[in-house]
């Protein structure tokens, strides 16, 4: 009797196992089949792409393992499609993606970080922080970028550290993340980055400072006479974009710079600041300025504030 019971249990178990095997295989087949359409670039299939993406996403968690395998693709369109589908699946995909962060393939880890950032699930923060020290700059850049997108303050310290990364693209990602996380403590580092050798880092640092707003003004103003000309130049523009009287007045001394480019950017800063009071400085300088480029921008300021 006991033997018969064991046999029955075993058979039932086998059925269950084989059923699950068939089921997994069916899911993979279905995902594969839909994925061909979902990732097709052919103009003839354009109308079918989104429904195919939606169909895979509707399969939810069940489709995730197969989709993660597809990160191996070397085709850019397929890669974007994988990410798009996983983002649409959202939080149910996160545990699988976090688990996949431990693999050695840094290209794949970098892509997974990108997807996690777009899913924006804060449960991924610790896992992403764990790969931020990867030797591959692409992983670091992608991970820091993801932390910024998720927007959880637990990442503040990590993100700030990477403002000084040796690779410019990582610094850029850190600057962007700093702006998203609004990390006030990072203002001095961001101001320093206005003179970065990489334009992507420079400009995104400026944008982060603009987001941080008035609290950045003093630090920027203090750095305008830096030996790094880029820092002072972009500082003028950044102050102008932050706007307001304080920013405009911080820019004003630069109108006397020996550099015509600096004077131009200072004039433009005042133009951007929307401070009609600071217009007076420009009006005064108009009387003596001879450089045609500076004069062109002076005229813009005077035109803008003429009525005021």
């Amino acid at each position: 009797m006991r033997n018969r019971f064991h046999i029955l249990v075993s058979v039932f178990g086998l059925v269950l196992i084989s059923a699950s095997i068939i089921s997994a295989s069916e899911i993979e087949d279905k995902v594969d089949s839909l994925f061909i359409i979902a990732s097709s670039g052919e103009i003839r299939y354009r109308d079918m792409v989104q429904p195919a993406i939606d169909s895979i996403a509707a399969m939810g968690e069940a489709a995730v393992p197969r989709m993660i395998e597809k990160y191996d693709t070397q085709d850019a369109r397929e890669r974007h499609t994988v990410s798009k589908i996983l983002e649409k699946i959202g939080s149910p995909a996160v545990p699988y993606l976090l688990e996949a962060l431990s693999i050695d393939d840094t290209e794949k880890v970098s892509r997974i970080c990108y997807t996690l950032g777009n899913i924006k699930d804060s449960s991924a923060v610790e896992g992403i922080i764990g790969v931020c020290d990867n030797d591959d700059w692409r992983v670091r850049s992608s991970a820091i970028g993801a932390l910024g997108k998720i927007g959880d303050s637990r990442a503040n310290e990590t993100v700030t550290v990477y403002l000084a990364d040796t690779v410019e693209t990582v610094r850029k990602s850190a600057a962007v993340a700093t702006g998203r996380l609004l990390i006030g403590e990072a203002i001095p580092s961001l101001v320093h980055m206005l003179g970065d050798t990489f334009y992507g880092a420079r400009m995104t640092a400026a944008e982060a400072l603009v987001k941080l707003g008035e609290k950045s003004v003093t630090t920027i103003a203090d750095s305008l006479n830096s030996k790094n000309e880029l820092l002072g130049n972009l500082g003028c523009t950044t102050l102008g974009r932050i706007g307001g009287i304080a920013a405009a007045y911080a820019v004003a001394p630069q109108l006397e710079s020996v550099s015509s480019i600096r004077r131009t950017l200072a004039v433009e800063g005042i133009l951007l600041s929307n401070s009609s009071l600071a217009c007076g400085f420009v009006e005064v300088m108009a009387e003596t300025e001879t450089d045609p480029t500076v004069r062109f921008f002076i005229q813009q300021v005077l035109d803008k504030y003429a009525s005021q």
């Binding site: 061909i36 052919e42 070397q74 850029k172 334009y199 992507g200 400026a206 972009l234 950017l265 480029t293």
Partner: protein
Amino acid sequence: MKTLIPFILVLVFATGLSAQGEPDSVYERRAVEHLMALLNLKLSDFSFREDYTKIDSFRLRTISDLMRNTYGMIEFADRLGDNCRGGDLAEALKFMFDNLKKSQQVGRGRPDEPYAVLIETTGMNLYYNTLEFNRLLSKVHACFNELIIPAQKETFSGLSDRQMEFLVNEFREIILEDTADASRPVDEIDSLAKVEEEYLKEFVEFGTGIKKDRLLDAGMIAAVEILSEIDILFAEIESGEITISRILSDTAAIPRRTGIASYLGKAPGWKIGGTGNDYHKGDYYFIIDFGGDDRYDLSYDPYNPHPVVIIDLSGDDVYNAVTDFAIGSGCLSVGLLYDIEGDDTYNGGNFSCGSGYFGFGMLYDKSGYDTYRGDTHCQGAASFGIGLVMDMDGPDLYSAALFSQGFGLTEGFGMIADYGGADYYLSGNKYKENLGLAGDDARFLSLSQGFGYGLRPYLSGGIGAIADFEGNDIYISDIYGQASSYWWALGILYDERGMDRYLSHQYAQGAGIHMSLGILADQAGDDFYRGHGLMQGCGHDYGCGMALDRGGDDIYQSRGLSQGGGQANGFGVLINDRGDDAYFVIDTHNTQGYGNPRRDFGSIGLFIDMAGKDLYAGNGSDNSYWKTRSKWGGGMDWEFITPDSAVVEDNDSHEE
């Protein structure tokens, strides 16, 4: 009645020199630095990393260097012009060869130490008695046996028979398109794409074992040496010192028991044509034809690779490619065609008319109104090699479908150098673009006319160039063409003179697409640029495209993302040095100095006009600076070059 006629105001633009005696490039650089400073950018920002993706072993040093300093493309285009301007074959070839050095390559034979040295053949029996003719024949014979065939063996010595077959079959399949693709179901297309991807992976495993420099070096020496002998022979015929009839009739009496094949010029696959209208059909090693309107039906067996030299001294000839790899085509070897006189027609197919496919192919046409027709990989096209068309004079028509007219695939430098006449370049109209890159309208792929191409992401691309020195030329392409490129490649179109028309739909006229580089450098003339988008100085996805026009009253028209447009971290630059120009765009939100963001940061788009009274429909205006609402871009129309004082008034007059 005597009338004093005010005579001639000659506008002399000493090429590249402004009134101040400094090269235009100095002013261009100054202007770019000025605008960039106003945008909080600097010239060194024009730089891309090499390792956005895995670096493959086929990347060219020139492209790596220019990606690190994309502004260097202007200087590179100038050097291309300088090296090709005089029509010196050796100089042009050396420039091509020098720029085929790989990033990771340490030593090379050229330029100081050629791999091969030509040793004159001895021991052949002479059939013809004329010294000059025998010199030519013996030179060709020596080139074959002392240079090319040994080089051929060494180049592919590391490859198995199967791998050699792969080059002829699978790799060829990767390049060739099929018009039937337009109607295949999606799973079939996906399957075919996967198969081709597997081919590429297989090739990557053994492709670095191909030592192509050895073969290219042999090809270069042969091309120059044979041309030199042709010139001597032709000059002597022209001067009357020797006559063709004497050359052909003054022959040796052959001993009865001696095989004719042992006589110079009489070996199998060698043919000597006369002055009449001859018909040459087959797979030849060597043909020389002295005159007449000849017809050539040429074939080539790639499973039996061998050198080919065809020389036609005069007549309006028709060359037909019966198979792939015919008409000045080097497939796993060296193929040279020299046509000295006449209005010729070259009906090429795939891999024809100056095609180097794992080899060296050259078509040298010295004069006449010529017509070049072809399908894929033709008219100055190269993959792992050099493909060159040198057309020294006359207005010509170039018509091809795909990967043609100055096309460089991986480790290849393909070029058309055209020296005279108003030429017409047409590419496309056969293979449909099925991805809808340019919207829903059916368009055709061109990927031609100074186009560099890589096989993403496995093989970085090569260099494709057109250098046209005279005439009012017309360039027409559709999707991808006219100084553009894709994937770690470089496309150049250098046009020195004439009122040219550039018409294309998308990815053209100075466009670098996906980690790639393109520059259109027009030196003079009232030119017309027209297209839809992603052109006229446009870089996409870590790509840089530059449109440079140094003189003339030019007209630019496009719809969007052009005239200094950077997209997805790309750089797009338009620079116009002189002239009263007109710029028209329809989409003002992404043109004339525009950059858009990707990967959380921006691109760079610059628009610069340095002189003249210019007209704008778009963001710009005459004598002004502007910034666009973008990340990051702007433009300026500012007098950086003062009105040129090189206007020479000729006071001579004459009486009627």
